[in-house]
């Protein structure tokens, strides 16, 4: 469906969340005192470390588990994670990079047409749900590829899924449904 159009749809990945382990206990106080660009949150029990390039924010827990957010691609996320592990290694911890997994990918896409949300929801009950009082977008969940799509009436959609491949498949799947409920161009 996508390829039959003249213009290709741009899927822009805005956020990739990944988790990994360093296989050793980390002393958060040491990291907080010696590290650059760190924020210590003792009430929660974690340290936030922000890397400049690639632009990544990592939540570091004392168990050695780290959640890495803010990357713009899967490779970037891996690179940032490795860099982070290197920083911790330089501080003196015996780190071992392991169990790297991309957990969530957030992408935005803009349709060239506006969408009639009420029609879209009526056609796709019960997979789609629209509660204007709670959120201005209609949520469409594709169970078998575990992707969630939020459809706005302006035609922009945001997609979240476990990896980039799923997100691409989700766009392919949802495009024909959105095309049916488009609003004709006026003005």
């Amino acid at each position: 469906m996508d390829s039959s159009n003249d213009e290709a749809l741009d899927i822009i990945i805005t956020n990739v969340v990944a988790t990994f382990r360093v296989r050793c206990h980390l002393n958060l106080r040491t990291i907080a005192l010696e590290g650059n660009n760190v924020i210590y949150k003792p009430e929660v029990g974690k340290v936030l470390m922000k890397l400049r390039k690639p632009k990544i924010t990592a939540s570091i827990w004392s168990s050695g588990k780290i959640i890495c957010t803010g990357a713009t691609s899967e490779d970037d996320a891996k690179l940032g994670a490795r860099r982070l592990a290197r920083v911790l290694q330089k501080m003196g911890f015996r780190v071992r990079f392991s169990a790297f997994k991309v957990v969530n990918v957030l992408a935005v896409c803009s349709m060239p047409f506006a969408i009639h949300l009420i029609d879209f929801t009526k056609n796709n009950r019960p997979i789609a749900s629209y509660e204007p009082e709670l959120h201005p977008a209609a949520t469409y969940r594709i169970k078998h590829i575990k992707a969630t799509i939020q459809v706005f009436s302006t035609g922009s959609i945001t997609l979240t899924g476990p990896n980039v491949q799923n997100v691409a498949t989700a766009v392919e799947q949802v495009y024909p449904l959105l095309f049916e409920c488009r609003k004709p161009l006026r003005k």
Partner: protein, 318 residues
Amino acid sequence: MASTSRGDALALPRVQCPNHPEAILVEDYRAGDMICPECGLVVGDRVIDVGSEWRTFSNEKALKDPSRVGDAQNPLLNGGDLTTMISKGTGAASFDEFGNSKYQNRRTMSSSDRAMLNAFKEITTMADRINLPRNIIDRTNNLFKQVYEQKSLKGRANDAIASACLYIACRQEGVPRTFKEICAVSRISKKEIGRCFKLILKALETSVDLITTGDFMSRFCSNLGLPKQVQMAATYIARKAVELDLVPGRSPISVAAAAIYMASQASAEKKTQKEIGDIAGVADVTIRQSYRLIYPRAAELFPPDFKFDTPVDKLPQL
């Protein structure tokens, strides 16, 4: 004879009216009669009278209620408990020395349903505050029972689930209440009610219809004291605005509020944005935003037979 007597025994109890053998008899359970609908003859007599034993009057606060039957059973909602409780004793013999009553400790009845009964009470209280009819309360109770038995939302506060059930029941009956209205009678936040609402829909695998602007018109307009003409005009405006898609992405409540503002400003009963915002639960800046979207095409939005107190070009422009 002997063989047919058994057959006769089954055929005999069918009483019939002597004048109208074909007529089907109507049972009057209160008096225990069977009455022929054609001539009104009382044909049958039942032994058991299922009516109440004593008449109790509401003004008498009798300490002793002579009825030996107790409350009406609620078989649909409870586990059908047929337990017996020991009530507080009367008379001197029920107290032992030291003044303590013998047989204290009314056995807790059906502890598994205690939480459910509590929730039903809470539902009735909440529904009472906004004057909801009995059928919505019954539907809410049924929904709550289904959710409670499923146990998929066990960790959530019962009050939150009750409020969400109330919201769903109102929607299902075709008279939706906004989340803010439910919030006003419940102690739970709108966010939590919204979360429970989505969880319940998933747990019960049902879906609800989308809200439209017309669902709220009669309530908002009567609360504001607007005459029927203005209400009809506002309903027409809101419907037209949504049809012409002048307000994409706006909540139907905001559109309804803006339509009421426009209709009231064009009539003799002018209401301020603040008043409408108060009743509808929308901020007055939200009304202003939606109003700005519908203002340019105001002339088309009014119904054709509307009597203008203030003409369309004199409508306030914000």
